[in-house]
Point group: D2
Chain length 142, copies 4
């Protein structure tokens, strides 16, 4: 196997004004946006372009999620957002994710997000394309 797909992905994200609210901290729904960016990069590293899936009538949609907010991230903070495949089923993937402030290593938010594979046309569940699932389940190259 080549390519060495990592089952874990990390992304550094800067907090801009758009991400905050009048409470002076990162708005609670912003963490979902941050987490989705890293899931997208993890799937891209596994060979999946979100825009291409639209063409092949395959899409991943969020099925359910749990979030625990621990410390507020603030304007100008740099955070590192992680994403790890916790479970891979025929038609869904579950990711564990964390948002950590880089400056002090504090965890700001932890999440568990399950995404389902669906047909865009029918909006019904669909099996994950086998070549994608294989790459996700296979251990990365040494």
């Amino acid at each position: 196997m080549t390519g060495g797909f990592a089952l874990e992905q990390r992304l550094r994200i800067r907090v801009y004004l758009e991400d905050t609210d009048a409470g002076g901290v990162v708005y609670h729904a912003t963490y979902l946006r941050f987490m989705e960016r890293v899931r997208t990069e993890l799937l891209r590293a596994a060979g999946l372009q979100q825009s291409e899936t639209f063409q092949s009538d395959v899409s991943f949609v969020v099925h359910s999620l749990e979030l625990a907010y621990q410390r507020p991230a603030m304007l100008d903070d740099e955070v590192e957002v992680s994403c790890r495949v916790a479970e891979a089923r025929p038609a869904s993937l579950t990711f564990e994710q964390e948002v950590t402030r880089v400056s002090d290593g504090e965890v700001c938010c932890r999440g568990r997000v399950r995404v389902a594979c669906i047909s865009i046309a029918s909006k019904r569940p669909k099996r994950i394309p086998p070549e994608l699932l294989e790459r996700i389940q296979a251990p990365p190259a040494p």
Copy 2:
């Protein structure tokens, strides 16, 4: 003529935490979201559902805009957003819009937004459906 389509539309919008930023005021891009809500309602009142246009390969996209920010709207404010057709051309409409705080009548933001009619498939300009243009150009019923 029946129905009495008004060339002007107004919508009251409450400012929620999602609309603000760490500066303690409404985030500058939020006004564009507010203004689009009213344009959508004006077009809906003229018989156009945005989601239906997608099915008939017609879409309106923003072509250009100018905004002038005058006073910040704040969390919990109620604002009234207006929308007036300033110009109707074969393939574009220009709207004049204002965001006014209800409590004191202060204008928070003024905008001029030109939207172009396009084909979704080709992403190229397209004539506005004649029945829609007619309703927009016709004077409202007395």
Copy 3:
């Protein structure tokens, strides 16, 4: 008791372009924005203005949440978002919320959201102001 604070709140929300994504449906984080609007209205009905709490060094921040997505809401849909106090503790409130499409009564998203009362200055937990907690725990007037 007068005033008749309802422990349940409902709000009708129209889905605009800003709420959707390229998958053609409501973006998954948008439901959090919708749910927060109704929590804000519930607290407002109980006498709490979010902006005033900022002045008295009290703020509610989301502590944790669970969401289950069931059917996608679509552009132009009207949804009804509900909010019910499921649990009231000295320094936190738990809400159960649902987003339902008005046209067919389908539930699009269900959520359970726990918000914590904090001091804005210290960002530490703080007791919910007793007069607010009382109004939330008291049965609504018959």
Copy 4:
């Protein structure tokens, strides 16, 4: 002079699902978010942290802007967003900005954004801190 502050700043930004709408393209207000990220980085390079200005009662708020949309950016596109100081006045800065798709060099959106320096406390105009204005007006080190 040391440090070599560049009067121009560029930032590569990936388009995620959060940035798009049901029309299948980047939502028109998203470009304002992208442009603000680069202005923030330009000011940071000049020694200004947005969060610090809040502490010294100085903030930059958008005063007015013009945008021209030329080609839609799409999901998964990488865009480069530029920011150039076009004019520096005692209490305002005007930036010229462009969003260009990296893959084909197409300009997606052009903007001219004027930001005003204000006091956070009074929300009134205020002179730009002289050391910041100096760094912006000084030619970058060779």
